[in-house]
Amino acid sequence: MKSFETNLAYSAGAHNAKPYLQIVDVVKKFGDHTAVDHLNLSITKNEIFALLGSSGCGKSTLLRMLAGMETPTSGKIILDGEDITHLAPYERPINMMFQSYALFPHMSVAKNIAFGLKQDGLPRGEIDERVEGMLELVQMKKYAHRKPFQLSGGQQQRVALARSLAKRPKLLLLDEPLGALDKKLRQQTQLELVNLIEQVGVTCIMVTHDQEEAMTMAGRIGIMSEGQLLQVATPGEIYEHPNCRFTAEFIGETNLFGGHVIEDEPDFVRVQSTELPRPVRIGHGITGTLGMPVWLSLRPERVGVTRRQPVSHGNWAAGTVSDIAYLGGFSIFHVRLDTGKVVKASVPATRWREEAAPIWDEPVFVSWADNDAVVLTQ
């Protein structure tokens, strides 16, 4: 269903490795509502995978099915060759870090971390050793005897992580892992968390609605909407080559133009949009037919703003500056075209070394290169 041949080449790499976790045609219904809709996903060992979607898209339900807190209406979940679909949560080699952390308030930090190990009936000495190791890993040794309510949010998060890693699970689930932290701490913790997970070497699935978090932490991202996975790819691939309008708009900012193919050649296509003055030339072929309706996605940082008319034959339009958002390192220019469409252009501050930046109501031209616009067929 990919609109790009190049897209297929990109995602092929991920499918070479043997799948460690397989989600096979899983459906979850709550009454009439279908929370997860015939979903398939394979995850390789030691991968950090992020399920990204807005609230109510079914990502949390999927995570809860992996943890065993919900049972799929149909479908199978296979982990390391074992069908775990109908195992109780306490029988699964899977541990979860809860969004609210769910630390036991009546137990000390050390006891919280030891809790899971005690359930396995490990000898006392080994439990102490493992707890010690975990405390060291998350740098919480000093706080071993504190109760959770005596810790800051960041410290609680580290204890929750240590507790979910202590049992050396085959699969680690993170539910909005940094959602409860404030923004500054969140950015700092993202990479720290990835380093810890990679250090331990555990396969990890995280659920988040924060695209920055997903892009920073995950090796691959699955975009979820209405219980289905729309696109599964690396952060870069998803950003540069979204396969549908939802993904293009959900990840980052973009300019979308509706139109249809008017010229379909092996090495280029032309798309006519009513929102642009002239046909747009795309520098490669697409899997489509002449006249089919498509959308063009054009990222703001791909759009150039000039005072002089661009020399390229098709990929430009004239307009006037209707708004400027100055953001320091770069500015977002809102350029109203003659067709009425407003195009957003993100221009770095260094662009205005030689000449002054355009001002409100100034007539300008927007332009982009042959391969900047992405053709979306759905």
């Binding site: 306490y90 979860m96 809860f98 036991f104 308030p105 809790f115």
Partner: protein, 323 residues
């Protein structure tokens, strides 16, 4: 320039005004707060501490044929104040096994009542707390419904059930489970049954309000970490409901020790409980000082568990704060 200076001064003045206003507020606030706390303190002072001091004073006096029937502690004779503290009532209580047995009987009855209430009340409170929110209020209503009827009427109803000619015997006879009516009334068992019935809501309500606050995610976390449901009940739910258990047990145990009406109406005449002894001293013997001393000893007995639990709570808080 001038304008800016002016506006600067204006804004400074406004800030100062604001600060003054908020200061005034702060000064007024403690006064309002102490006014609010004064109400319960005043209530306790007027209806608990003052009466208690009266009783304490009477317990140290001697019985006298007069009105009121005791001798005043403080007398004035020839420009001197004489304070006569009579310890005789207390030495008598500790000397006579009748009192000891009555205290022991009451404490045992109260303890067993508390235990049975806990064993029945916990599952009930747990079920209500875990019920869907829409059902919860109805279930709570059912627990509280008996309070709409007078306590005495409810005890009389139990007499109608447990009597030799009562509902229960009739039912068992007609089901041919027994040949002759069981002697249920006026036994220790009947007292126990009615005590548990009467005090059960006082156990259920504090337990419910504790259990309803339990975060379900903690149980999910326990399960996720490999804990089976019954074990997560023991390691998570039960320890976290400790305060509810303590509150419910106190609410049952304390009034149950001094219970008078239930043993009087459905109990045996032989088994003495301290409430009954108190009544006899006061109304039959007209010995107010003795009755007062019995009360003081009972209060002292009840203070032991209360103070112990309070101290333990304080200690655990202090321990938590130290780390």
């Amino acid at each position: 320039m001038m304008n800016r200076l002016l506006s600067l001064r204006d804004s400074r003045e406004a800030a100062a005004r604001g600060a003054r206003r908020s200061l005034r507020w702060q000064r007024a606030l403690p006064r309002g707060r102490s006014l609010v706390t004064a109400v319960p303190y005043g209530w306790l002072l007027l209806f608990f501490l003052l009466p208690f001091l009266f009783v304490l004073q009477i317990s140290f006096s001697e019985v006298e044929i007069a009105s009121p029937p005791y001798r005043a502690l403080v007398t004035r004779a020839e420009d001197a104040l004489h304070i006569a503290l009579n310890l005789g009532n207390f030495t008598y209580i500790f000397g006579d096994p009748l009192y000891f047995d009555a205290y022991l009987g009451s404490l045992r009855m109260a303890a067993v009542t508390t235990l049975i209430c806990l064993l029945i009340g916990y599952p009930v409170a747990y079920t209500i707390a875990r019920a869907p929110e829409a059902k919860r209020n109805t279930l709570l209503m059912l627990v509280m419904l008996p309070f709409w009827t007078s306590f005495l009427v409810r005890v009389y109803a139990w007499m109608g059930i447990l009597d030799n000619e009562g509902l229960l015997n009739h039912l068992l006879l007609s089901l041919k489970l027994i040949d002759a009516p069981l002697a249920l009334m006026h036994t220790q068992l009947s007292v126990q049954v009615v005590m548990v019935y009467a005090y059960l809501p006082f156990m259920i309500l504090p337990l419910f309000s504790n259990l309803v606050k339990l975060d379900g995610r903690l149980l999910e976390a326990a399960a996720d970490l490999g804990c089976k449901p019954w074990k997560s009940f023991l390691t998570v739910t039960l320890p976290l409901s400790k305060n509810g258990v303590i509150a419910g047990s106190m609410l049952v145990f304390i009034p149950a020790v001094g219970e008078f009406v239930i043993p009087e109406l459905v109990g045996t005449p032989e088994s003495l409980m301290i409430g009954k002894v108190l009544w006899m001293e006061f109304f039959d013997n007209n010995n107010w000082p003795m009755a007062a001393a019995v009360t003081i000893v009972m209060v002292a007995l009840l203070l032991v568990p209360i103070v112990y639990l309070h101290k333990r709570e304080e200690k655990s808080l202090a321990r938590a704060a130290k780390h």
